[in-house]
């Protein structure tokens, strides 16, 4: 045994887990799903675009909750800040280029992430959750009161984005917005794949499991988490800006406790700590909500609740997490 290890010690320690092939596969999956969505629901592209904007919010939540273990029920603050930043840029400053609006959303979201991170990361566990709830109410109320900028409870209307690249106008069927959303989601998704498996991503996973161990290695959990919060804010900001560009209105609901809580439900539904889990949860929740609320406008929430209970009881790792685990086990058994 000892001789075997010494001999092996000469050979380089390489791992088979290189990500490029899987990255391309992930990109392909997103694009194929986008094409299927386009073909299946050509008259409902607005819903699909909204799903993608919310998926960005849920991905953003996954970064801090799934990868870092931060408990929050106020994550829509980041999404709504991005949406308002893009909307205010367009309405008050005449910045109507969609890409610049997204840039405004990224800045707004990142700033909100910084503010929320500084406050929320001071506490742990239940107090942390309470702080996050307080924050989302503060953000909501601030947007409500600053009505000359935000339109208050009427919402910020009159957002008229320019044609994308000066060529593709935002049409009534939402085709431009749809393609725009697919491209944004794909770019962010690939970016996040890089981040979560980078040394920084690994550090955050370590912090989630045992922050004291990271300290004993000379790492600062607070700085790493704050950095992740800012990244998370930028991602949510993209989602918010996308929502502003595609719907051409920003409402107070984008800064609401309800949206925060729903995004957490979607994340748990799909599976925390996995980017595909976040996207899966969003798609399933929103399509289910759309179908069930059309079929039964009065009791649809009951059915959403029942779905959630079923998932939490029988697939505690979420829909994607459970499927991935079963597949991995089967692959392991096949070896």
């Amino acid at each position: 045994m000892t001789t075997a290890t010494t001999n092996q010690a000469e050979a380089p320690l390489l791992s088979g887990r290189h990500g490029l092939g899987r990255d391309l596969a992930a990109l392909a999956v997103i694009l194929v799903l986008a094409v299927i969505g386009y073909l299946l629901f050509p008259n409902n592209l607005a819903l699909l675009t909204r799903i993608m904007a919310i998926a960005l919010l849920v991905l953003s939540l996954d970064l801090v909750t799934g990868y870092c273990g931060v408990a929050t029920l106020g994550h829509a603050a980041l999404f709504g800040s991005g949406a308002y930043a893009a909307g205010i840029a367009a309405v008050h400053f005449g910045i109507t280029d969609p890409l610049l609006m997204v840039a405004a959303g990224i800045i707004g979201g990142a700033l909100a992430g910084l503010v929320c991170g500084v406050v929320i990361l001071r506490a742990h566990g239940l107090p942390q959750l309470v702080l996050s709830i307080a924050l989302i109410h503060l953000f909501h109320e601030f947007a409500n009161k600053a009505s000359s900028w935000t339109g208050g409870s009427d919402g910020l209307a009159g957002i008229a984005p320019d044609p994308l690249f000066g060529i593709f106008a935002y049409d009534l069927w939402g085709r431009t917005a749809y393609v725009f959303a697919v491209v944004l989601l794909a770019i962010v998704f690939m970016f996040l794949r890089l981040v979560v498996r980078s040394p920084f991503g690994m550090l955050c996973r370590g912090i989630k499991e045992d922050p004291i161990r990271i300290q004993a290695m000379g790492g600062s959990p607070t700085i790493a988490l704050l950095k992740m919060y800012v990244i998370s804010g930028a991602v949510a900001g993209v989602g918010g800006a996308l929502n502003a560009v595609s719907t051409q209105v920003v409402g107070l609901d984008s800064l609401s406790f309800t949206l925060s809580a729903e995004s957490l439900v979607m994340l748990v539904l799909g599976g925390t700590g996995s980017l595909f889990g976040a996207v899966t949860g969003t798609i399933v929740f929103m399509l289910f909500e759309d179908l069930v609320s059309a079929a039964n406008p009065f009791h649809w929430l009951t059915m959403v609740g029942a779905l959630l209970i079923a998932v939490v009881l029988f697939a505690p790792k979420g829909l994607y997490g459970t499927v991935a685990e079963v597949l991995a086990r089967r692959r392991g058994a096949g070896r």
Partner: protein, 254 residues
């Protein structure tokens, strides 16, 4: 030789009970010191005071001649004071290679890098290979820690500590909870620690203490009651009285 690690008159009490009472010690590079003492002697408090996880009421801690009393726990690690834990604290889903690589990157201030996968960073992985190979964990390099035997997890703790290139290493019961059959490997790993490293080991297993340490410090009721060679510790009447009891007779008979 000049001291790399010094503790001067360290004091800490909890509600009137002096748990660490005027403890002083000094270590030079290459020292192999064991800190022993009966349960409740204040060993854990002492470690926490030294690492900066607890604030002392009085006294001073110095690393490499500089006072770190007002330096926080994270910066003390960066100045070369590294500890291992009594119960392993590892990340269950990560592999030994990832643990050690993370420690290396942390040491180099690169753990915040947002791009690149360290499994494909040749410099880092070469160092990981050397460290993991030294501790006989190479075959397990890419297995999640939860699938690895406890004795090997303890070796991984040592590998992580070494990856940080410490000047002073505090080992908190490195062999605790390890089955007898595996303690030999840990002992070999301890014997292989770098020559210029100052090691302070807290341990209950007296056999290990006598084989490892060139110097033994005995702590009882928060006070140092003995600081000298292992050969003398069993003869000291105060130590016998406070701690060793029948064990002293057994080991002197052996």
């Amino acid at each position: 030789m000049s001291a790399i690690f010094e503790v001067r008159n360290l004091k800490r009490s909890f509600g009137g009970l002096a748990v660490t009472n005027d403890v002083s010690l000094s270590m030079a590079p290459g020292d192999r010191v064991a800190l022993i003492g009966p349960n409740g002697a204040g060993k854990t408090t002492f470690v926490n005071l030294v690492t900066g996880n607890l604030e002392p009421d009085a006294g001073e801690v110095r690393i490499g001649g500089e006072s770190v009393t007002n330096v926080n726990a994270i910066d003390r690690v960066r100045r070369g004071l590294v500890r291992s834990f009594q119960v392993t604290r590892l990340f269950q889903d990560m592999t030994p290679a990832e643990h050690v690589a993370l420690a290396i990157l942390q040491r180099d201030g690169r753990a915040g890098r947002m791009f690149g996968n360290f499994l494909s960073m040749p410099g880092v992985m070469a160092e990981v290979g050397v460290l993991i190979g030294k501790l006989g964990l190479r075959d397990l390099a890419h297995r999640p820690v939860r699938e690895i035997a406890y004795g090997q997890q303890r070796l991984l703790e040592i590998a992580m500590a070494l990856a940080l290139k410490p000047r002073v290493l505090l080992l908190d019961e490195p062999a605790a909870g390890v089955p007898q059959s595996d303690t030999g490997r840990i002992e070999r790993a301890l014997a292989d620690l770098p020559d210029d490293l100052a090691v302070l080991m807290i341990e209950h297993d007296m056999d290990l203490v006598f084989r490892f340490a060139k110097r033994v410090i005995v702590l009882a009721a928060g006070t140092v009651i003995f600081d000298g060679s292992p050969a003398d510790v069993t003869k000291d009447p105060r130590v016998r009285e406070a701690y060793l009891g029948s064990y002293a007779d057994a080991s002197s008979a052996a």
